[in-house]
């Protein structure tokens, strides 16, 4: 063994390294399968196609938001603006949709790209504030999130906007192979995200910036531009999440964005994407979102009392993180 580097040779024999690598890589999926098996044993009805469809419905919007923030976390930054961005995108979509005709069969379909642009624009502002004013990303985006929620409240005055167009609602109501269309839309965007992650220079740059910012600089990358693009891309995915959320409940309101921050960040971490950047990816997040939603669904399905659920969810999340992330690779945990 031609190792001389103190740290790597102390880490153990190469055999155990490969073994460990494989475990770390597949641990989140293993956790998911164990959870499914557990709930299925507790309550066989859990293991039905209809229930998987229900888990799919509850996962789809959160998955889009979580994928958005995955890109940011891979860069080693954090984005906490998702709740505000989702609310604003949902509300702008609803306003435009109703103003342009109120059905997808009319010009109102334009509201869909408009919502995506709105999400991307908020992400762009986020990135700009982070980069130009040199404010840490968690602070810049948290503040932008509040601005977004406030703006959403200003737009609606606290009202809800109902979207009753049957064509748009077919996201929820029409099923192919037992799963509603929104699940397929979510899958499509997962594939797009995967393509961006693995096949584009942008995706590669996310990993480079997250893996070593100085090195990325030294390799000639325009790190700030990568950051800005990352936040924009995240904003667009938040908007997709907003559209699916509206499709799911037929309502756009200030509260549409509620709870997405906790669910998405938790999912990303549970899926094994490292918060310090550079490690993980889209498929990790898919598994992470499914883990969180399987836990949520399973707890009700097996009849866990309501007052226990929040506590159990918290404990299961910690357990999942312990099992699915390689904590040895960091010297300290912030």
């Amino acid at each position: 063994m031609a190792l001389s580097d103190t740290t790597s040779s102390l880490a153990g024999a190469p055999g155990s390294g490969i073994y460990r690598e494989a475990i770390v890589k597949w641990a989140p999926l293993l956790v998911l399968l164990v959870l499914i098996a557990f709930f299925a044993i507790m309550e066989p009805r859990f293991l039905s196609v209809r229930n998987f469809a229900r888990i799919g419905i509850s996962s789809a919007p959160a998955l889009m938001v979580a994928i958005g923030v995955t890109f940011i976390i891979i860069m080693g930054s954090i984005d906490l603006s998702m709740e505000g961005t989702v609310s604003v995108s949902a509300i702008l979509f609803a306003f435009a949709f109703l103003a342009l005709g109120g059905t997808l069969a009319s010009w109102a379909w334009l509201a869909v790209p408009m919502a995506l642009i709105a999400g991307g624009f908020i992400g762009f502002l986020n990135g700009l504030i982070h980069i130009k004013l040199k404010i840490p990303s968690f602070m810049a985006s948290l503040a932008m999130g509040f601005v977004g929620t406030g703006f959403a409240l200003l737009l609606t005055g606290g009202d809800r906007i109902r979207i009753e167009d049957e064509l748009f609602r077919s996201l929820l109501t029409v099923r192919w192979l037992n799963f509603p269309i929104m699940c397929y839309v979510a899958l499509l965007f997962v594939l797009i995200a995967w393509f961006i992650q693995s096949r584009t220079t942008l995706g590669r740059n996310f990993y480079a910036v997250g893996g070593g910012e100085e090195l990325a600089h030294a390799s000639g990358l325009n790190v700030n531009r990568v950051r800005l693009m990352g936040f924009m891309l995240a904003g667009i995915f938040y908007a997709v999440g907003a559209l699916l959320a509206v499709g799911r409940i037929g309502i756009a309101e200030t509260a549409t964005g509620n709870n997405f921050m906790f669910v998405s960040i938790t999912s990303v971490v549970v899926g094994g994407t490292a918060l310090w950047g550079g490690i993980g990816g889209v498929w990790n997040t898919v598994v992470g979102v499914l883990i969180v939603n399987v836990i949520n669904n399973g707890m009700v399905v097996i009849g866990l009392p309501g007052w226990l659920q929040d506590g159990v969810l918290g404990l299961l999340v910690i357990a999942a993180v312990v099992l699915s992330t390689d904590r040895k690779s960091v010297s300290f945990v912030k």
């Binding site: 009805r45 039905s48 229900r54 919007p61 409240l153 005055g157 037929g250 009700v300 009849g303």
Partner: protein, 363 residues
């Protein structure tokens, strides 16, 4: 005649009734054609203190207050809005500032934001010689009758009885039998507790209805949709779902829509929101409960104002006129159209001097 119709008729009065009522109740101060001269600075300044107007509930309160001001023939903009944005400190500071500015010549209606803030607000107003009505927030040991005339009245709303009645509407829609689930608010919130209690009370009279589970969905639409989906997995067929708020009812309804169960599974909500009423009209929901914030906004300001001008002496009124529950309107499929016409598409005209007509004594 549905009870809602009867209710509306007791509230929405004609001009003639108002005048008669005024003449009878207020004597010389309410002569026909009498218009209080607010602008000449002799009448008390009128103010409403509340969280903010972007919330539909408080928006309705403020509108009610403005409607009362308008009924006096004054410009609704003369109503002073003290916005506390959820801060008790700001709430008290604004009141103290306004008392100083008006020299105590003030008729105030206020939600003190939290219970403990009720006392300093009331004491400040009483000391300055103003008149105040409170809603929702006060501590149990704070009573209007301990402050002579200056603390005019306190109003709150009980959810137990309306939740009982609305649950019965859902149970009846189910044909008096079947399997029902419940979605509650944040478990520690008093309204969440009261609304669950109301449903439990109603359940006692329906031996053929089985409550499968009652879970909190934290007033949240999306959470309600997810919990409802899980209920469907766990229990299969569900005939009814009682929700402690309309927001959660919407979530439950959309979970049902995804399964093609809308109309089959009966949905009950609470809060009387516009969308819930429309869904009742479409047959997708069975019931909701309106607490009529518009009436509260006008009536409490009216109480304070009439006390301030000496139209009646609060200290001579019985205790049930000083601390009372506001009215709740239970809306079912039968009267949703009436409610929509009278409360949503138009604003009912109230006799703002019929202070206590719609109220029930607080226990």
């Amino acid at each position: 005649m549905s009870f809602i119709k009867a209710h509306i008729e007791t509230l929405a009065t004609s001009r003639r009734n108002f005048l008669l009522g005024s003449a009878a109740g207020l004597g010389a101060t309410a002569l026909p054609g009498f218009r209080p001269a607010l602008a000449d600075a002799h009448g008390p300044t009128m103010a409403w203190s509340y969280r903010n107007r972007s919330n539909p509930y408080w928006n309705a309160i403020a509108s009610g207050g403005e409607a009362f001001v308008k009924s006096l023939g004054a410009d609704p903009e003369e109503l002073v809005h003290l916005i506390n944005e959820g801060s008790s400190e700001k709430s008290l500071a604004d009141v103290v500032a306004l008392l100083a500015k008006t020299n105590g010549n003030l008729a105030l209606a206020i939600d003190a934001n939290d219970g403990p803030n009720g006392r300093p607000v009331v004491e400040a107003v009483a000391e300055a010689g103003g008149y105040v009505c409170t809603i929702w927030n006060k501590t149990a040991d704070l009573h209007p009758w301990d402050f002579g005339d200056n603390y005019v009245a306190h109003a709150s709303w009980s959810s137990v009885d309306p939740a009982d009645k609305s649950a019965r509407i859902v149970f009846d829609a189910m044909g008096g039998k079947g399997r029902v689930v419940g979605l509650g608010g944040i478990a520690s919130n008093p309204p969440a507790i009261e609304r669950q209690q109301g449903m439990m009370n109603a359940l006692k009279d329906y031996p053929d209805i089985e409550l499968l589970d009652y879970q909190p969905a934290n007033w949240d639409t999306q959470k309600a949709a997810e919990v409802m989906g899980s209920f469907l997995t766990r229990f299969g067929d569900i005939d009814g779902v009682i929700c402690a708020s309309d927001t959660m009812a919407f979530g439950a309804l959309e979970a049902l829509r995804g399964e093609g169960l809308v109309g089959q599974t009966k949905v009950g909500g609470y809060d009387g929101t516009k969308q819930a009423v429309e869904l009742i009209l479409k047959g997708e929901m069975s019931t909701t409960v309106d607490t009529n914030p518009f009436w509260a906004g006008g009536a409490l300001l009216s109480l304070a104002w009439h006390a301030a001008i000496g139209a009646f002496k609060p200290s001579e009124e019985p205790q049930e006129h000083r601390e009372f529950f506001g009215p709740s309107i239970i809306i079912s499929e039968a009267d949703a159209a009436d409610f929509k016409a009278n409360y949503i598409d138009s604003t009912p005209e109230y006799d703002w001097t019929d202070f206590w007509g719609p109220t029930t004594p607080a226990l």
